[in-house]
Amino acid sequence: MTNFNFFIDGAIVLIYLAGTVTVGLWARKYVRNVTDFLVAGRSVNVYLGIASLAATEFGIATFMANAELGFKYGFAGTTPGVTTAIAMFIVGWTGFCIKPLRDQEVITLPELFNVKFGTKVRWASGVVIVLGGLLNMGVFLRMGGNFLTVVCGFDMVYLELVMTVILLGVALYTILGGMISVFITDYIQFVIMSIGLTMVVILLLVQFGWSDLLHTLDTVRGPAAYNPFLGDTYGVDRIFLDIFLAFASVMTWQTTLSRALSARNTKTAMNIYKGTAPFFLVRFILPALIGIAALHYFGTDRFSGSEAIMAMPHFLAAILPVGLIGIMVAAMLAADMSTNSSYMIAWSSVIYNDIMKPIHKGLWSDRKGLLWNRVLIGLIGIFLLLYGLWYPLKGDLWVYLQVTGTIYLSSMSVLLIAACYWKKANNWGAVAAIITGCVIPLSYLIFKEVEATRGLFESIGPYKFGVATYIATAVMMWFGSNLKFYMEK
């Protein structure tokens, strides 16, 4: 049941879509070379950088995942937001890792590794980044499709069609306008998304009442809803993983990093980080509030277990009036499009700049380079469509995002810190760290699906695996580097 009206709400969504795609296509005329296409000519100022980064890291998948955390754990579910906001502010304030990275004027992270660890490590890093990034992004389209199908009241048989239409719209302006189009459309999407989200949060606070929402949390979830250290619902191991993940992602996640690398100078990059830090808290607290309101509205019976993620879309479909539901759908489309476009260009930039480096050797003309970048974005789009249709997501979406993200975040964060601050670090340590960071999370993803090992892997759980990956990766970097150092000595 939804209040979505195809004439009123549909018109709002269509106006937004037409406006964004038109602006995105218009901006393509400023693309002259590969640097313009991949890092917007390094001309981005602080406030545009903040708007773009805030919009990029808030998509429908994040919105649903964070609302699910609110639905399941109450305010304790906002812990990843707290850790990420703190990590982002510290990194922006101190310039830890991002300062040396921006000073080098590289386009991607592996490009920096080339100097310290050599070309093979650069290539291997590119492969790990693309593997982890694409697996992570693979569920975005299905989540977007699920959300829109429920909120707009489409029949579920149209899910694939909705996913394809979203992707085509994004791919069109990203392929043609690259990062320049992404920045300008991100700005529009930031504004629309903020308006929609604020209106919905105010409406539900007025409609249900703050004290009633707290009463529901008290009754259903108890004190653990306010404190992640209490009880066994959230857990200490998960908090540790949140901390590791927060620092690793703000330092190395290519879509986040690309804003720092596109900044006018290092100081601007650091200010973008500091300014965006609180938005990372907002992206958890506001969706969690909607998740808590959904819990208040539905109770625990209708959406339990893996169904919990669908509570928020059904809740919005039921409570939002005509007009506001159109604004909310436009807002979520804005969030999703900004995320998808930035992610597509981020992974294509790594494929072109690092994985394909042995092929083009940096000697291709701008025309040929641009053509290949556009082809790569198109291929990523096709992969997303196929993966989104094929992969059946089970369990907590945020856990899936954390585990797939860890495939690259663990090794890349260790390599980055070592490259910037440890003189003794070398390619042996880097290779050992990359292999370790890849093998542990992939083993978890595979063996928890195998009947014989499922019990064991589920009893250990994704959080302990995640924490173990970060520690083991750092140990292997230390061990490998020292081994080579003493062997050569």
Partner: protein
Amino acid sequence: MNHWIWTLIVILVVIWYIVVTAIVTIRGGKDIRTMIQEWQKEK
């Protein structure tokens, strides 16, 4: 106690979000204008 802390956090977050979003919207728009003017000069 928990209620008070989270009430305060949510109020501050919502107010901060509205105010800073408005500032970023205005200043971000100016950044786009500056960026486009520079690209037009370079063209």
